[in-house]
Symmetry: C3
Subunit: 354 residues, 3 copies
Amino acid sequence: MPHTTAFARNQWYVAAYTYEVGRGLLGRTVLGEPLVLYRTEEDGAAVALSDRCVHRYFPLSESRLDGDRIVCGYHGFTYDRTGTCVRVPGQKRIPRTARVASYPVVEQDLFVWVWIGDPALADPGSVPRAPHMDSPGWTTVSGMEPVDADYGLLVDNLLDLSHETYLHGGYIGTPEVAETPITTEVDEGAGVVRVSRHMDDAECPPFYARSTGVRGRITRWQDIEYHAPCLYLLHSRVAPAGVPPEADGSDPNAFHTEITYAITPSGEGAVYDFWAVSRDFARSDDEVSSFMRDLNHTVVMQDVDALNLLQRALATGRTGHQELSINIDTGGLAARRILARLAEEGDKPVERAR
Amino acid sequence: MPHTTAFARNQWYVAAYTYEVGRGLLGRTVLGEPLVLYRTEEDGAAVALSDRCVHRYFPLSESRLDGDRIVCGYHGFTYDRTGTCVRVPGQKRIPRTARVASYPVVEQDLFVWVWIGDPALADPGSVPRAPHMDSPGWTTVSGMEPVDADYGLLVDNLLDLSHETYLHGGYIGTPEVAETPITTEVDEGAGVVRVSRHMDDAECPPFYARSTGVRGRITRWQDIEYHAPCLYLLHSRVAPAGVPPEADGSDPNAFHTEITYAITPSGEGAVYDFWAVSRDFARSDDEVSSFMRDLNHTVVMQDVDALNLLQRALATGRTGHQELSINIDTGGLAARRILARLAEEGDKPVERAR
Amino acid sequence: MPHTTAFARNQWYVAAYTYEVGRGLLGRTVLGEPLVLYRTEEDGAAVALSDRCVHRYFPLSESRLDGDRIVCGYHGFTYDRTGTCVRVPGQKRIPRTARVASYPVVEQDLFVWVWIGDPALADPGSVPRAPHMDSPGWTTVSGMEPVDADYGLLVDNLLDLSHETYLHGGYIGTPEVAETPITTEVDEGAGVVRVSRHMDDAECPPFYARSTGVRGRITRWQDIEYHAPCLYLLHSRVAPAGVPPEADGSDPNAFHTEITYAITPSGEGAVYDFWAVSRDFARSDDEVSSFMRDLNHTVVMQDVDALNLLQRALATGRTGHQELSINIDTGGLAARRILARLAEEGDKPVERAR
């Protein structure tokens, strides 16, 4: 039994960073659907088509672009940016049904978002925002790791940061993270889970000590905002211990870091882990950028290794998986409820007024 | 769902080249049946036995020959060339049922053909011919690649050469191959499919330019003759553009190449791709032999990579595989019909007069 | 169909050598149950707990020890040596049900024995003995190899030593082993199978020639004593040909070697092959120790390769596995009957008087 969380189909998912989509053909699989992505010459738009030729199912991502058309690498079936077949070998007549699916795309906040479900429900205005990813005032480092684990395990991981103390000790974890109780708020309707942990007097982990230059004890706030199913924001505030924001809401004496994850189910037991770190300090300092990229990559790989291991442990378990949840799991359990509801809704027939 | 074409059991299949079968033990699997092949000291004949000892199922191909007998590498059960057990450890009495299956073998045209189905139906006279493989007047280079794909995908591949333009461009493909319509003839009774493409004014691809020395445009004929299920012949004629055969049928100004494939299903989703190129020109020129061997091997590996990829794409497809066929597929679709009929016939009980 | 012999759960199994269990965390899987083993600081006892945290199923063997407590490497759930959870992150209250299974352990004869079945039936007095493993008067070399094969195939292998002649020829096998008939005694009630082969005039294989220094023909006795399911003892006596034990039972002119195997099913199609060689001669000679360790390791690896191969052959067999058994298999067939009975008994509800 592979451990599997149901997919919520009628939702936006990150398929790539905008900088990954260019004049090559990029293959990605989202919710089990193979996609090919590229950017048009005509107007620079990102295009997402089904990655299987209608003729004999060859992956179009293993093909080549001719202008804005994909020429299948096997027999030359040629598709325009809408997925319509415009050329076949050996004959003039093109079968009327020759087309591959085209998926709605929104480029926003450094992400290429795609919609796999019913296209009639794809509202570009409902794509959740992460403006710090690509705004003046912020500097961002980013990457992506494929994980051989159910995406629900990554959601669990990120909603419960007490694991920083144990899995990421010496990098981003200190004893105070696991010791400090959390507060959790759930907006079931909006599908948003908020988990906060405010540490008033904590050790400064190397990740922040070296990037901010702060010495001594710190005030450390972690405010998670999870927009199910795909977007996870961690608002992080680090300041010398006892230094609060100003009365007017400004916060000149603190260091702000936005840690962003996009959690995109690829297939059963497979998830893309898009990760980014945006900061409002030392913004032009390349050394700080390198340090934060390298250290965060190390932290992400600690998670990747743990989740791969966990997936295998769950798959080989002789008896049913019995969990025991405590307070720290409140956010994760709320997220699971919301994901289950979104998955169920995505499977229902939809009423439409047209 | 692995993509699988049913096996036609009562048919001849190539298990090896004659030069592969010698005084070692060669393991091959044909239609899912593990075989061990060797050549006898007694009369130099090729022998094909079941590759599993009757005692504890150990692969005999991992054993050794003692004269013309195989001595099982585990406990020493010993079999003669008919598959009869002639010695067991620790006792004189040999159980009456101790024998492994022996398969009919025909050596012809550089191939070792075997018959996996009902031995009573194995007619050596019905083995299809490829005499150029091993005739004076022809020089042949050959090889074999195992492919992790349904054998039907290899049949599809070879029956539709329009893919040469896209998958093998710069090697054997030119634009004219995909552009030129084909003619198809099907002999359902004999199980033979013929697909012809005659290009009167075509670019000469590197494979022929360098081996023949022809410069400029060419007349290029491709005449496929597929003897389902196993033997595929491609009669290739290359001549300077506009040069036809003589009125008397002789063809002194053209270069003839016979491209031979034996398509042997190994197991589900696994096929042996035996390939050979025979030529009637530059017959003693080792440089031409090396060039044709190397370049054809490269072309075969392009197919192998594509078919492995395709098999995986078909296996992971979320929804049913939907194909769209056009004129170029006429030969391949005919081949599939014939294979389905042969497979069905092989499953029926057979009436025999004895 | 993977080839699988049913597991007998209410039995003692070797999980490790005593020297493998220390202050690190050792992960082993026995009868499909993941275990973590360590040795306490408090009293040096070996502990075996379930290797899955109750919280989110993380492998405890990938964690760390804090004194005699395991701190889970994911979220810090902490367990004492009885498996009771004594600390959880972010709260004082520990859920009453927070505990992982603890398995009965007996350390004896260099082995760490564990009991996976009903703990109420675990009688430390019923652990079978191999005193030569760790006694004055004997010197032992040992190792362990995981095999990707059904444990029944290893039992088959060891109960029928005629394979020494073929699989281990030139190491421990000579023609006489396969030629000499065996005697078999079965004690169904005690679950013990005895297979003896006494060779009065045999070639001396390199394993004994070089370690004992005996030249010329030998008397070679092999007396197997298999205590199903886990412990296999081979009492080996080598003496110059024609030299019997003394009338009083002493045997000063012979070389005695005790070859011990512990056969521990890990999961379906996976078994731990613990092997040891104890000798009563040249006891302080390190060169003899090195030689016997290296040569026996080579022999074990010949078995490992053969069994891995056999497991794959059985898994891919098109038709049902048909065996043919002869006299040499009497011991192995008796062992299978006993294993089947023990497995069946282990599945029954047990009557207990308390």
